[in-house]
Structure formats: C-alpha cells, structure tokens
C-alpha cells in the first residue's frame, strides 16, 4: 500500500513523497537503463526523463500493479526511444552523443564490476532481446505483460527472450572460461 499512498501524496504535491519514490527505485531504474544502453550518461538521461514525465502525467496516472514495474517499463520505453535516436544519429554520421557525453553533467553514476559485466554482455544482443530479458528477469514481468507493453505477441516476446538467453549463455560461459 505504501506505493499507492506515495503516488496519492505526489498527486497532492508532496515533495517528500516524490523524493521517497526516487530514493526507493532509482537504483533499479538506473540499472535497467544501464543494462539496456550500456551508457552511463544515457542511463541518467533516461531516468531523468522518466521521472519528469511521471510527474507531468500524475493527474491522469492510476496505479494498477506495482509502481516499480510501471517505472521500469517507462525506463524501457525511454531507453528504446533513445536507442532509436542513437541509431538515426549513427546512420547520419552525427556524433552528437559523444559530444554530449563529454560535456554533460553526467558520469555521476557509479557502477560496480557486475554492472559492467551485465551491460557488456547485454550490449551484444539486439535491443529488442535485451529489453525482454531485463523486463522479465529484473522487473519480473510476465511475457503477456511484456507483449502488451511492446505491442507484440506473447510468442514473439518469448522468442526474443529465448534467443537472447541462448546468446548470453555463450557470452557468459565464454567469459567465465577465459
């Protein structure tokens, strides 16, 4: 019930409640963003945009299910958009991202070695597989829920997950044997 009360208090303008939500879930959100994007600056940007959007949409927001699951889905959505934009920039030969990384108020996220291993391994997967793997394993979302969130069929979600894991098996085992 705590999350429902926090959301309710946020809707009524409580700074304390919003701060509590941020403190409670920021690590999970940053981890997902890092795992999906393998870029600390981009991860911070994504979590930033998720929180600002969350507040902007508070009036119409109704919490169904878990707040953590909702926020993680938002991170996955924003990360996907960031990834698409990144690909467009790469195709156009535009190196804005690198400039942003150099200038940004970013790099203020500290990660341990496991984060590096996780995001490094996931970076070898297509984005669509990455997000299904993380949404299922980190956010504990069912394939049906992932399918609904991604507008794909549950079978497609399962296939992406299976392909992703197959590739991760070789990546992680290979890494382990090195």
């Amino acid at each position: 019930m705590e999350d429902k009360l926090l959301v309710y208090r946020c809707k009524r303008g409580s700074r304390e409640a919003l701060t509590r939500i941020y403190q409670k879930y920021k690590a999970d959100l940053l981890l997902l963003a890092m795992a999906l994007l393998n870029d600390r600056s981009a991860a911070e940007d994504v979590v930033h945009d998720v929180f600002v959007s969350f507040v902007q949409g508070l009036d119409a927001f109704r919490l169904i299910g878990s707040l953590k699951g909702f926020l993680l889905t938002c991170v996955a959505n924003h990360a996907r958009n960031w990834n698409k934009a990144e690909r467009r920039r790469a195709r156009a030969g535009n190196d804005e991202t690198g400039a942003a990384q150099a200038d940004g108020p970013l790099e203020t996220i500290a990660c341990n070695e496991q984060v590096g291993r996780l995001s490094g391994a996931l970076a070898e997967l297509p984005f669509e597989q990455r997000e299904v793997v993380m949404m299922h394993l980190q956010a504990s979302m069912t394939f049906t829920a992932i399918a609904q969130a991604r507008a794909i069929s549950p079978n497609t979600a399962k296939s992406r997950y299976r392909y992703g894991l197959d590739k991760l098996r070789s990546l992680l085992n290979g890494e382990a044997t090195r």
Binding site: Y8, L18, V55, T108, A110, V115, L118, L137, D166, R169
Partner: protein, 581 residues
Amino acid sequence: MKPADQIRRLIDESQITSGPGADRRILGDALDQLATRRRGEPALWRSIMTNRKTRLAAAAVIVFAALIVFHFIGNPVAPTLTFAQVVEPILKASTAEFDIVIGGDGENKPVVHDLVMGSRIRRTISGMDNVVTIIDLETGRMLVLVQENKEAQYMSLEGLPSMPNYMDHLKNLILTLQNAPDFVIEDLDEREIDGRAVIGFLAKHPRAEVTIWADAETGLPVRIDQSEGQMQTICKNMEFDVPVEEAWFSMEVPEGYTLQEDATLDLEAGTEEAFIEGLRLLAGTFNEGQFPAGVAVEDYLKQAAQVARQIDEMDLSAEEEMAMGQTINAFLLFTRFFRGEGEWTYQGQGVMLGDAETPIFWYRPRDSETYRVIYGDLHVEDVAPEDLPEPLPPRTITEPGAGYQSWSRPEFVGRQENFYTVLPDAQVRVEAHLTLLKGPHDTSLMPIRLPNANAPLESVRLGEPGALAQDLVTLPFHAIGDSTYNVELPLEELLAGRTMVICQWHAPLDAFRFERGKYWVDIEGLIPTISHKVNVGVDPDSGFELTLPVTDGWANPFTSAVAEEPINKLGRCALAIQKRQ
C-alpha cells in the same frame, strides 16, 4: 548455471549509485515539475459527501464515528430531566426519532439521524443518503448497507456495554439521575429554536452540562445540548412514539445485496499505539504532512467526508481500505473512550510530522504519576507534571483566563453582557459590555457588528470590568459598512487590565420583533463570544414593566453557558417586558 540464473545473479549483485549531481538533476527537475502543477482545492463537505463513489469501508468509518455518539448518549452522565412534562414522553415512548449533531451547532456539520425501536437503531448520516446502518444493541452487531452499489457488511461491536433495549436504557438513566444530588438545575426561561418557542433547563454536573429545551406549549422535549469533558453534542428534532415498521430495523441482508466479509469494531482498541498510528496516517496521508486541527471525534467528523473522498482516490483494494478504516477507528477510540486521568491536551495543529522538538499531545494514564507526551515525530516521553510543555495560546476558551491575551488567531474574542433599557419614547438604549479575552497580536483595530440595522453606534468606552462611568475612556471608531465598525483599541491599556469595552446605541422598540405578545431580541455578539447575558430594564415613564424577577433594576431573560468555542449568534429571547397593567 542456467543463463537466466546467471543474469539474475548479476542483477542481484549489481550495485549502481547516483552521485549528488545526478540526484540534483533528476530529482531536482522532477520536484520543479511537481511545483508547477496546479493543485486542486479541497472540496466542501456537501460536495464531497455527494460523491457517489464513496466506498463501503470509508462509509463505515463515518458511521462508526457516529456510533460513538450513540454510546455517549448511553453514558452514565447523560441528560437528566427533572421536570415531569419533559420526562414523561420519554418514559412512555416505545419508539423515538431524533438528530444528533456532534461538535455543536454550525453549518456543514454532519447530522446523524436515528430512528429507534427497542434495541435497534436505524441510522443515516446527512450527505450519505445511500448508506443505512442498522445497529442491534442486544447482539452487539451492526449491518451497514450501501444502497448505491448494493453492498452489505456486518460489523461486530466488541466492548459495547450491554444494552438490550435502548429506550429502556434511556428511561432507566433518567430515573436514576432524576434525584442525583450532584445535579443543579437552572431555569433558562423562554427562547426560540427553529421557529419554536421553547423553555430551557440547564443541568450542571461536575463532569457534564446538559441543557434541555422543551416546547413551551406542549412541554415535549425538542432538543438536548450536552457537553462532557471535551465533547459536545446536540440531540434535536426529537419525536417520540413515531410510527415505524419492523422491516426498517431488520438485520437481514436485503435481496440483491452482496455481503462483504464481516468486520469487527473493538471499542477497547483505543490504545496509545493505535492513536499514534492514526496521527501518522492523518498527518502523513491526509493532511500534507501536518497534524490535523483536532483529534476528537467531532474534529474527525469535520474532515471525515474529505478523508472518504481521498481514500476513494487512492484506488486501494477493499482490504487496504478496511485496514485504513480500522486505523482511523482505533485512533478515534482513544480520545472518545479516554481512560486516562483528567483531560488530554492536543496542540498539534500545523506541526509537521517528524518534528521531534514539538509536543503535540499529552495525557496522564490512570494511576500514573507522570504524563505521556507525544512529539511531532511521534516518539513518546514520560514527563513529570512540573515539566509538562507550556500550553500554546488556546484555540478554545473554556476557562477565561485572567486579563487580555494576544494570540495567533485573527479574531477578537470576549464575553458579552447586554443591557437593554426601555425608554419613554418607545426607544431602547442598548449598552453592550464586552470583556475582551483574546485578540490578534498584530492589529489594534477590532471590527464589531451591531445587531440592529438603522441603529448607529454612538459611543465606545473602555475601562476595567466593573469600573465607574467616570473612569471610562472614550475610544475612537469608524464605520466600515452597514452596522459594522472598526474600534481602535489601545493594546497597552488592554494588557494593563482595562479589558471592558462598552458600546452604546439606541434602537426603536419596533425594531424588535413582536410575536405572541412579546418583543424578541436577537442574541448576537459584537464579536465572537464565549458567553452572553441579556439584561432588561425599564424606565419608570416608559409605560412598560418587567415580567421576570428583578435584581438591582434588571431582569435577566437569557444567560448562556460558557461555550467551548467562540460563536456569534445564539438565537433570540423574549425581552421580558409587557405594557404596564
């Protein structure tokens, strides 16, 4: 290890932290965004109560709060009725119908409407017309019916005193108290309530004051005002032996209703721990992190509808709603069935939850030598009586303090005694003696309102209570509207004890309504007052004489009890004059 488990393990072992820079950026921008959102204003009682989405649990909380009132009426210090005409209809009645208002008269107060037959009460509450509660005192159960969505729920009332028949209980109570030596009865003479001439009797007891008003013509009781400890209730619109149908009191769930899981309301559940949890909930969830204005049942009822609406907005499950309702119930029980010694003190209004320095509530548990003091962060300390917190400027004035005190509220408050003198030219000279008790610290302008239109204020004088006329000093004043004036007060004089302000004006006798052979005067304070007295005298050449006993030339047709909170209007009373025979 399976790859899924490997990934899960990596996720579990991953540690990612944001530095102050990231926090400032992410949270800071989100907080800025939050600050720019427009927040809705709290709705008024009526608009809230017409919310058709009120859910069962929230409704039950309100009904339960009112149930406490029922219990209060059944308390051994309930009304005593000492004159036969008033007692008789109650003693003979087998059914009754009345309204209960908690916390005194006033607009937007919830009204509990009860229909009583034997051991059962059919209860509705104003603004919640779709919720009916049947209370069975014999079995200690109540059935809550929400007509809108056809939901029903049984609630067991644990700790309810045995009361097989409510009417019999009330009768026994009256008979027992009729000859109680502690009670003193004072006649209040005639006045008008809801357009009805009534006669009042004030019964005083060390622990309670009860005023009973009976119809002046029929002698039937129509209203009982009652204050006990820190709680006030009004029982009014009383009717006895009203026709009823047994089906109205049935404890069977009507056809088509969905029966919810049974609940229990334990009247013994009012522990200090439960009270603290209620404070945490009310402040943290329903009041923007601030403690509420009050913690008594009547204070909660003032905000109950809003709480119900807020609960409704939270999208809680039925179980979560019920848990929240039980927290509030247990919170209310603590002050309602207070088992400490003496009175409790609450001064948490406006204090922020988490403030470890500010005491918000204290009481002395029975048989304890020390007090329990609850602070704003809800920690509790045992404190010796001599170390108790200094009381803040009181928000209610039950015992007028010595002299004049400034306080943080914006209004002036006092006691008022009016002297009406009927003069030969069909004029009435009015002297309002206003003894000031409290006033704002940041202004010396006191706004006053005269009750009579076309009767301009003539003079304002200041002096010590009981001062002779030659010792009074004149105060400047100026009109600020119809019958309203600003009086310039010398604050240093007030603080020195010169607290009586005498305002004088004249009004034609025909400005006082003449009905049923009497002139009637509206009893209104120039400012909010905690007590009011009306004195009437006649000039020998006026052609009028007094109809009540005279002391020092004055008859006294009206004296109010000391109100817990300042009020402006008290109704009206007859001037106690008639044409000389």
